[in-house]
Amino acid sequence: MRIALFATCLADTLFPEAAKATVLLLERLGHEVVFPAEQTCCGQMHVNTGYQAAALPLVKRYASVFDPYDVIVAPSGSCVGSIRHQHSMVAAAYGDAGLAARAADVGSRTYELSELLVDVLGVEDVGAYFPHRVTYHPTCHSLRMTRVGDKPLRLLRQVRGLDLVELPAAEQCCGFGGTFAIKNAETSTAMLADKMTNIVSTGADVCTAGDASCLMHIGGGLSRLRTGVRTVHLAEILASTEFTS
């Protein structure tokens, strides 16, 4: 299958390993990955901070850059949620009905990585090997906006060598929330503290998730506290093999 990658601005800039892993994983599974170079950002930060008009060019860009592709994947439940649920709204409010329809259509062809693997490609065992004790944080937007359900866990359970441990209060927010972490930094930090306590209590050496943003937040806290727990994007675990690990 020919799959267009939306790398997301965050992974592109700060966490390229997540986007690279997505490419290498899909290619290993026999698919062709293309990266339309005109892509930038989905505009979620603008929409969620209250700048919908400013997000319009980004919504337009996403729709036009990815319209030619039947299947689009992004290694982020949050960005996919924004594309599916916010793009047509912004387009309808600040653009026109034609753009809104196109945004909704392109959005319906955009999948989060675990959705693409399980629902579209019909695979749960991706042949990965990752010999670590891992706990999974279901990020809020993966869980409640994109609604990926237990697909990431089904994929992780098939990874050889991986010891999956349940995260207490897993469905509680880590406190990132985009600009929330800046505008309400203290509340965000209090939420993060509880998330880290729960992560450390599992004894895992790796915390994984489907969103680089939440992992940046959690990882930043775990690093500051020198807990020794690493954050690794789900795509990187799924892309790992005995040769890379």
Partner: protein
Amino acid sequence: MSTFLGMPATAPRGVGHLRGDQTFPRAAHDALGNSQLRRNLRHATTTIRGKSGKVIAELPDWQELRDAGSAIKADVMARLPELLEELEARVTEAGGVVHWAADANEANEIVTRLVRETGSSRVIKVKSMATQEIGLNEALEEAGITPVETDLAELIVQLGDDKPSHILVPAIHRNRSEIREIFLRAMPGVDPALTDDPPVLAAAARRYLRETFLSTEVAVSGANFAIAATGTLGVVESEGNGRMCLTLPDTLITVMGIEKVLPTWRDLEVFLQLLPRASTGERMNPYTTMWTGVTPGDGPQNFHLVLLDNGRSAVLADTAGRQALHCIRCSACLNVCPVYERTGGHSYGSVYPGPIGAVLSPQLTGVADNASLPYASSLCGACFDACPVKIDIPSLLVHLRNQVPHPPAERAAMAAAAYTMARPRLYANAQRAAKLARIAGRRGRGLPPPFSGWTAGRDLPEFPSQTFRDWWAER
């Protein structure tokens, strides 16, 4: 500036409790530093989440009930004028008197006048969000009338000279030993040997209020619903203080937001299943009282219904925002909110705290008066899933953020980011420039405001040696 009188209007300033005197982050700062408060909140919200989840799981048709509840409320909003007129006609036919209050000031004036006309200088009150919203107690006190809160939690708040911090359990921020201290300090005639055992505390409230219930001639209540087709009102409660207020006095004055009307009697079959399970986590609350006008020989013989706008018409005028009026005040969204759990209700500065308060308060006052509240959420979405009438609170928050007057520096930064993101080559150059800037600086510490809050508790990631797009280009 002149405004056409019939245009929707927000709640007036200077009256009631919809506006805090500091921003959410500032108020939250104090709450976050109070470890006792955080323990109390964590214990209470964890308890109620467990109870509620259990009784909701007993119903195989919970989602269908939510769908029906949501649709009934949407229908109510679409037909509000005719439903209010119908309600007025039915209540009047049944012997009640209907009053219309455009805002908090008018509602307070009406209630004060009605109480004065009875000659009574004291009223007993059933817990009511509407009367807290308008600051009725303060207005009554100013007029020389003593309002006595009879709900246990409201009593704790009133005796403690405190403010409510939760829609359902206004004293949720207090634990049993704090409640004992408040009773010992402020409850006249309390047994000095009072313990902090909850049944003992409840019994103290029973003894304290008994005589007041039996000797007060006027009660003030809110309403959980009003049936337009029959003129029936209902109050859902637990302790029996509601029954006391709604049964014993000669005069009952009920203050109700105009959005609380329901079309038909049958609609109750939906809300009486949704509300208790979402709210107190019970299959049914201990007591629900329903009355239609006046029943000769049974209950109050004078009934007044005050229909309150106070900003609701302004909420209704916002087509995207009007679903906030579907709220049935169950407080399920508070109990699942990770922000509420850590900051408590006082941080929101309004009688409506938590996720629904973060949307409803700015909607009722106009967003400029509560500009920090739409940001008091990480948009995690737990509130949407918990809402028994499916109010999409995260989308409403995003909608309101789009109306907030933004700080100029933030506006400029957002515009610059959008400009860059809309131009791929500029964007790629900016990625490289950012990396160089970071390499020049120290890793992850001491960023300037507004980012200093981030680096106070977290490290920033190392900049990678290569962006993804550079890696791709080199393949």
